[in-house]
Symmetry: C2
Subunit: 371 residues, 2 copies
């Protein structure tokens, strides 16, 4: 039979993830598989935890990659922290905030929401008002809304929660490794990301981190976590460094090699250099798009460098443009989701994708197609 893998072409991944993968990460991925309880593999696990704590800026012991994609990270944060009837407030300004609402509603939480226009950031004033007359077990929002390209003011929201008992749950899927993320600095209690965004590893792992307060809530639940696979009290026994490793499920060994390598690359380049590279690419893209007569969808102060939402000009067949980019130029960009479908393109500049030559290649291709 024909082997389809032979026909895979290298595509420049400039969508909302997965992003381009560094050659060293591909190499890591195909290293010899070790057993999930092998002493040498456990050394690698230990180091992954340390590297994740560094990129997330946290001392949280319970920091590890979940064996699933970013959405499994979201599921794991909610299913561990929520018990039926818990009051949850979700601050929504895009698809991933909406998904938080769906996930926590399914888990039986008593869900309250504040929704902001998609393309604008969460407004701390509105949140402050809401908090004056309400208490919640969990308050959740998204740092970098992948569906709109908006940066939310997590530090400001965090300040509003000081002195309250609520656990603060933040999605850092698209931000982690591309802009500063500081779990401890922002008093975040539970957070999750994905391997395939700015960490530039293939999709399949979801780094998560839980504060001592969050862990304590998990250990004092009245009911068992209704999801054995994602029960952090069990997964923690496999990952925690100071205890005997207890088998829970077979870890995705080769994916973990890849994540390790991508975290090493991040550390070697240095966070400030990585963040600078993302900003430079973003500015270059913004200028280039302007030259092509295209406009950014999000106002300047709230724009994410790694996820650029671009307004589709009137009369342009947006799907056709993406198709031609993919087929003629081997470049992938993303379309809009939900109410933004057909209205924006999403151009990712994440991790290994965020290089000036990639921006130039995209601009040239867009110019050829649009003009």
């Amino acid at each position: 039979m024909d082997n389809l893998l032979k026909g895979i072409e290298e595509v420049l991944l400039m969508g909302p993830g997965p992003s381009c993968v560094h050659p060293d990460v591909y190499k890591a991925l195909s290293r010899d598989t070790l057993g999930h309880l092998d002493p040498y593999f456990i050394k690698i696990m230990d180091e992954i935890q340390v590297l994740l704590q560094e990129v997330m800026n946290t001392k949280n012991q319970l920091t590890l990659p979940i064996s699933g994609t970013g959405s499994a990270g979201m599921e794991s944060c909610f299913v561990n922290l929520i018990e039926p009837k818990d009051r949850v407030l979700i601050l929504i300004n895009g698809v991933f905030g909406k998904r938080m609402q769906e996930v926590s509603t399914r888990l039986g939480a008593n869900v309250d929401t504040i929704e902001f226009d998609w393309g604008t950031p969460i407004g701390p004033e509105v949140v402050k008002e809401k908090l004056e007359n309400n208490t919640y077990e969990v308050i959740a929002t998204v740092h970098a809304e992948t569906s709109t390209g908006v940066l939310n003011p997590i530090a400001e929201i965090s300040k509003l929660l000081k002195g309250r008992d609520s656990l603060f749950l933040v999605d850092v899927v698209t931000s982690l490794g591309g802009i500063e993320v500081s779990l401890d600095g922002w008093n975040i209690d539970a957070s999750y990301s994905g391997s395939q965004k700015c960490l530039s590893c293939p999709p399949g792992l979801a780094p998560v981190s839980f504060s001592d307060n969050a862990f304590s809530k998990i250990m004092n639940r009245e009911t068992k976590v209704p999801n054995w696979y994602l029960d952090m009290s069990l997964i923690g026994q496999y990952w925690q460094q100071d205890r005997k490793r207890v088998y829970h499920h077979t870890a995705p060994v080769n994916m973990l090699y890849a994540l390790y390598q991508s975290l090493v690359l991040f550390k070697e380049e240095g966070p400030s250099n990585v963040f600078k590279r993302h900003v430079e690419c973003h500015l270059k893209l913004k200028e280039g798009l302007k030259g092509l007569g295209l406009e950014m969808f999000v106002e300047e102060p709230y724009r994410l460098p790694m996820l650029n939402a671009v307004t589709i000009p009137d009369g342009v067949d947006e799907a056709e443009v993406r198709k031609r980019l993919r087929m003629e130029h081997k470049i992938e960009i993303g379309g809009g989701l939900g109410p933004l479908a057909g209205k924006i393109w999403r151009i990712g500049l994440m991790g290994h994708t965020a290089r000036i030559e990639n921006v130039e290649r995209l601009l040239k291709a867009l110019d050829a197609i649009l003009n």
Copy 2:
């Protein structure tokens, strides 16, 4: 910093999984990442579904790999099929039957069990008696008990369920790709496996399959599946070939390349040749162990070829033997789980591990250590 990946040695994986990975599968793993909605990637997805249907012997449309390890497969079968208070019967004779009990209890099912001595198979007579006075929404058991090395009589149990309304849920984690598995022949309604056993792909994916009856139960649930990540009605919309692909979560693209390649290798060698190779290695191992004075834990008719439970002789420090195998001979075998810890070794002959030269290497190493 030192890169730990450079220190990874090739270990002969003869434990209960992960098993040895074929060089072509490693190569597949590090092919260029494509987007999860890329048209070429979707072709590969389509082919994975066809190949999975073949190895599982089913026409079930809803046959696909879950983005998680084998345990996520178990979770997905139960969480989709069970609603609170549903009556579930679990036939238990090892760790993985016990885990089914734990998973379904957490989901609020009304769980009934029959437990058989570990190391012996499920007895259809006892099941028959139980069914005379009871009805269940779901009846679940394990085909190949990885914790004991016992083959359960799924075809016989299946016959007992004829004419009943119960859905039949079977774990084929360790059996799939090593002995015959026939979902349609055995009227199985929901089944899951893992990539890292006889399919010889690294851990990280869980092939699952749901019959039309199972799918109908999912679509007619009174409550939404309390697990957004594993909701088959949503995942199905991303995988189903005859509908528009709807984004659910970012698929683990490179792991799927690896699974594709391992399924291609299975098909190219041919199921009957693969199964024969497993039996030959098992017989060779059994003879060799006998020569070393070691005894099989399971009676002959119920022995799995790919998972050989060996009774640890009196006076042998079993952990020390496993440690020396790993350190001096670069071979991994498994210990016992739960009540069998310290009583058995588990020697895996799964997929690419099941080669005569590997059996000979292990026997030689065991001889050097024990004698």
